[in-house]
């Protein structure tokens, strides 16, 4: 019995050690950074499904510090359209990535928002305006109706992810441990009926 207790105690220590090694620091999970999908919906018009919505970005302090230190931030909207299957894994039908870069321009003291999909660039006086611009989804073509089969069940998923600009692998790996430089929202899902 004593051995069993010891084994359980040993297993418990191993578990603690594994959690310590692989778990992201708790402060990073519950820090200031918070992304939230406020509203999102699909709109059907002339044979095409469009996506509209708003995503709220609130940068964590480390992210703000990084931004004001000259490190550009990458904010990405990941949109996935999957066919729901009852007895098997879901099948991905389409996947969209809206990538924008947020940078603080020290010379002009303005926040630059660069949309990589459209190539447009805008500058804003405040960070809130810049984030609002990024979080605004307006008439984004999602999929052509002809690519969907009537009668099947589809689901749209959306989440937003913040990470630093391309960093060296080692540093990027380190920033994972160092601070709340990567923030992502939960997946927001809603059905799509063709």
């Amino acid at each position: 019995m004593q051995e069993l207790v010891n084994q359980r105690t040993g297993a418990g220590w191993y578990l603690v050690l594994l959690l310590f090694l692989f778990a992201k620091p708790a402060a990073a999970v519950t820090g200031d950074g918070h992304f939230e999908v406020r509203s999102v919906y699909t709109e059907y018009r002339e044979g095409v499904f469009y996506l509209n919505g708003r995503v709220s970005f609130r940068l964590s302090d480390p992210a703000r510090e990084a931004l004001h230190s000259g490190v550009p931030l990458r904010l990405e909207l990941e949109i996935q359209l999957a066919q729901k299957r009852r007895w098997w894994l879901d099948s991905e039908v389409a996947s969209l990535h809206q990538l924008a870069e947020l940078q603080f321009h020290a010379l002009t003291q303005r926040y630059l928002v660069r949309n990589f999909n459209s190539g447009e660039q805008f500058s804003f006086i405040t960070l809130a305006e810049a984030l609002d611009e990024i979080g605004h989804i307006n008439q984004l073509p999602l999929i052509d109706e002809s690519l969907l089969e009537p009668g099947l069940r589809y689901e749209v998923s959306l989440r937003s992810v913040l990470e630093l600009r391309d960093l060296p692998g080692a540093i990027r790996w380190m920033t994972f441990w160092w601070g709340d430089l990567r923030t992502e929202s939960d997946w927001y899902r809603w059905p799509l009926k063709p």
Binding site: S69, L107, R110, S123, P168, I171
Partner: protein, 735 residues
């Protein structure tokens, strides 16, 4: 064989490829810290490869460690030395690595920290401020131009606005001129861009500021590079009720100025980024360095195991070889694996075992030779009729041949290592032999010869004995060798031959004159007796009668000698000894000698091969001797006894004649069977000699001795047949 070689080749190729891949990834991992963009995507892969490599190394080290501990506990040859070498190599590897690691981390941290200092920080900020100041002048100048343009354009009706705007744009060096209403509606625009551009969303921002009567001017970075200066000023209202309008003018910043400003900004941003990331950077560098050194350390420890295994590979072989040599296996040869000192040691070991094997072969050869010599000597000794005993001063037997045992009546060949005095307790002949030899040895004599008389089962034996000292090894006492021979038969033969010669000469020299003497005496008696007087005639008659009588007696004596000297012709037949004994006994019973004759016969005696007449003669002689010895005795007894003797290799009949007379004269007991030895006043002394001769002709033996109860006892042993006779012969010869 070919499959194994192919497998080895594939394994080695895989090993080399894996090591190359690992080394490359390690190098690239180190390079990642310098070239971010180039290796950023492969960073995870490189980390994975190095992690797998480290894991493999750890597994290898773990396996080697387990094997080493197991070998150490099982006292496997070479394990302790290997443990020491691995420990030493590991410590030698770990200590420098730790020192290098410590100083590298220190240099790394200080090096990175040296990038960031107040001067650079201030310099960059000031450069940025300088850029701003330079651009601020431009902004003010362009704002003035815009105000001027707003004053001019406010006077023009909408229909002529575009024309005037284009004119003013060109005159003032603007890139784009736009008039927007308060509700952000574009009223007119003039642009040098193809297709024109209206920053609609910025209009609200501009109106927000101009509505408060403030000028609007800002520096705007462009997506395609470069800067523009956006200015805005309210247009003069044409009259009450008219909507508020604003003039927005964009001016290009000169390319050189834009490039310089960009350069300053890039440096500023880069510095800020590095400053922000310096802690992760330091940690990243430290971790990369740690990983590289950790891998190097693991490699070094693995190398320690590998090198110790290679270096000490001959040691277990040497130990096994030494043990094999200690067990006597000189054919062991160790594989040559290196040309260093250990290789030289292996060479020396192999040379030593070769020489030992050769020495052993030579030794075995010598041993075989010695053994062969010993065997030859043993055969010679075994075939010798002379007894040979080698012994030490305490008479402990070292070697003895079969003849020695046969002469002394004891199996000496199996008595090696035993003392003769102890063996002698149960053997009469040996006891007499020891009693004769031991005193001499005690006196320290080692070289002497003598003749020893032993009393044995079949009579007395005469032994000629010689003793010599044996050379010892390394000054030790080698003991003595006793060489002796039973010369009883030889002496007896010599005596018999001598007596035979005497008898023959007597017969020849004495018998020839006897007949003329007898004839002459008879003629004298016949011729002169008739002519002599009575008295003279009586004398002559008596004298001649005595002469004739004595001559007859002498003739009988000479005949007896002749018979003794002449070899008898035996008519050997199978006969019943008991029958002959009873027959002869009856003859003596019929005559009244006043002696009682007893027969004690063994009825189980089988037929004996013998000469019936000679056997009768033997019995007559013996019984007559006893009768004569008992003459005058009132209670004379003669016993005739027969018995069957069954020895291992022969069967014989014992015929014993005993009487209760005076017995033999002990002084003559050793010469009873010699001619002319008699205790009787009328005896010729040939009776027992002839009996002995006849018995020996039958292959038997005769022994005479006195009874303990008084009287004489003669025992005859007659072999049953030819086989028994042959078996008994060697014993009789050694008597």
């Amino acid at each position: 064989m070919a499959t194994q070689a192919l497998r080895q080749f594939a394994f080695r190729s895989l090993l080399i490829a894996g090591a190359f891949l690992w080394g490359s990834s390690l190098y690239l991992l180190a390079e990642t810290t310098q070239n971010w963009a180039q290796f950023s995507r492969t960073h995870e892969a490189m980390l994975l490869i190095n992690g797998v490599g480290a894991l493999i190394l750890l597994v290898l080290i773990g396996g080697n460690l387990v094997r080493l501990v197991r070998d150490y506990r099982q006292l496997v040859p070479g394990s302790r030395l290997r443990t020491r070498m691995v420990t030493m190599f590991s410590v030698l590897a770990v200590l420098p690595v730790l020192v290098v690691f410590y100083f590298s981390v220190q240099f790394l941290n200080r090096g990175i920290e040296s990038w960031f200092n107040v001067e650079i920080d201030q310099g960059l900020s000031q450069a940025l401020e300088l850029s701003r100041t330079a651009l601020e002048l431009r902004k003010r100048e362009y704002m003035e131009r815009t105000r001027g343009m707003s004053g001019i354009l406010g006077r023009w009706p909408d229909s002529q606005l575009v024309q005037e705007m284009s004119l003013l744009r060109r005159e003032n060096g603007a890139m784009e001129v736009t008039i927007a209403s308060a509700n952000s509606r574009i009223i007119a625009t003039s642009s040098e861009r193809a297709g024109g551009f209206a920053p609609v969303r910025k209009v609200a921002e501009i109106l927000l500021q101009t509505r408060q009567g403030l000028d609007y001017v800002r520096l705007e970075p462009m997506a395609e590079g470069g800067y523009v200066i956006v200015t805005a000023a309210p247009l003069m209202e044409l009259g009450p009720g008219t909507e508020t309008r604003v003039l927005i003018v964009e001016y290009p910043v000169p390319e050189r100025l834009s490039r310089l400003a960009d350069g300053v900004l890039l440096a500023y941003d880069k510095y800020g980024e590095l400053k922000y990331l310096r802690q992760p950077l330091k940690t990243s560098f430290t971790l990369t360095l740690s990983l590289v050194l950790f891998l190097a350390l693991l490699l070094a420890i693995n190398g320690a195991f590998f090198v110790s295994r290679i270096l000490l590979k001959p040691i277990p072989d040497l130990l096994e070889g030494t043990r094999a040599v200690a067990k006597g296996d000189f054919d062991v040869r160790l594989p040559q694996q290196s040309r260093d000192e250990l290789g030289f040691l292996v060479d020396s070991f192999n040379d030593m075992t070769r020489k030992l094997a050769r020495a052993r072969e030579e030794s075995l050869h010598h041993e075989h030779q010695v053994e062969a010599e010993r065997s030859r000597l043993a055969i010679i000794l075994a075939r010798l009729s002379t007894g040979v005993i080698s012994m030490d001063r305490a008479m402990v037997v070292r070697t003895a041949n079969q003849a020695a045992g046969a002469i002394l009546g004891v199996e000496l060949e199996d008595s090696v290592g035993q003392a003769l005095p102890e063996l002698a307790r149960e053997h009469s002949l040996l006891r007499q032999f020891v009693e004769a030899v031991e005193p001499q040895l005690r006196k320290g004599r080692t070289e002497w010869r003598e003749q020893i008389a032993l009393r044995g089962e079949f009579g007395n034996r005469v032994i000629i004995f010689a003793c010599s000292a044996l050379p010892g090894e390394s000054g030790n006492d080698g003991g003595v060798v006793a060489v002796f021979d039973d010369i009883t038969a030889l002496l007896q033969g010599q005596r018999d031959a001598a007596w035979g010669e005497v008898a023959r000469r007597l017969a020849h020299e004495i018998k020839n004159p006897l007949t003329p003497i007898q004839l002459s005496a008879e003629r004298i008696r016949k011729k002169y007796l008739e002519n002599m007087g009575e008295e003279e005639g009586q004398v002559l008659d008596r004298a001649t009668h005595i002469i004739v009588q004595q001559v007859e007696a002498m003739k009988e004596m000479v005949d007896a000698f002749r018979d003794y000297a002449r070899a008898p012709d035996l008519d050997m037949t199978m006969l019943d000894v008991n029958e002959i004994v009873m027959e002869v006994g009856d003859l003596y019973r019929a005559r009244d000698f006043g002696i009682t004759l007893y027969l004690n016969l063994d009825r189980e005696i089988p037929p004996v091969e013998a000469d019936r007449g000679r056997l009768r003669q033997i019995l007559h002689n013996l019984i007559r001797n006893s009768v004569e010895a008992l003459t005058g005795s009132d209670q004379g007894e003669i016993h005739l006894i027969t018995r069957l003797r069954q020895a291992e290799d022969y069967q014989a009949v014992e015929l014993t004649v005993e009487d209760n007379g005076p017995g033999f004269d002990m002084e003559n007991v050793n010469h009873l069977f010699d001619p002319y030895v008699t205790s009787k006043p009328k005896g010729t002394g040939l009776g027992l000699a002839i009996v002995k001769k006849l018995i020996e002709e039958h292959g038997g033996s005769i022994d005479a001795r006195n009874r303990e109860a008084g009287g004489a006892r003669i025992e005859i042993v007659l072999p049953l047949n030819e086989a028994s006779r042959n078996a008994m012969m060697p014993r009789l010869l050694r008597r």
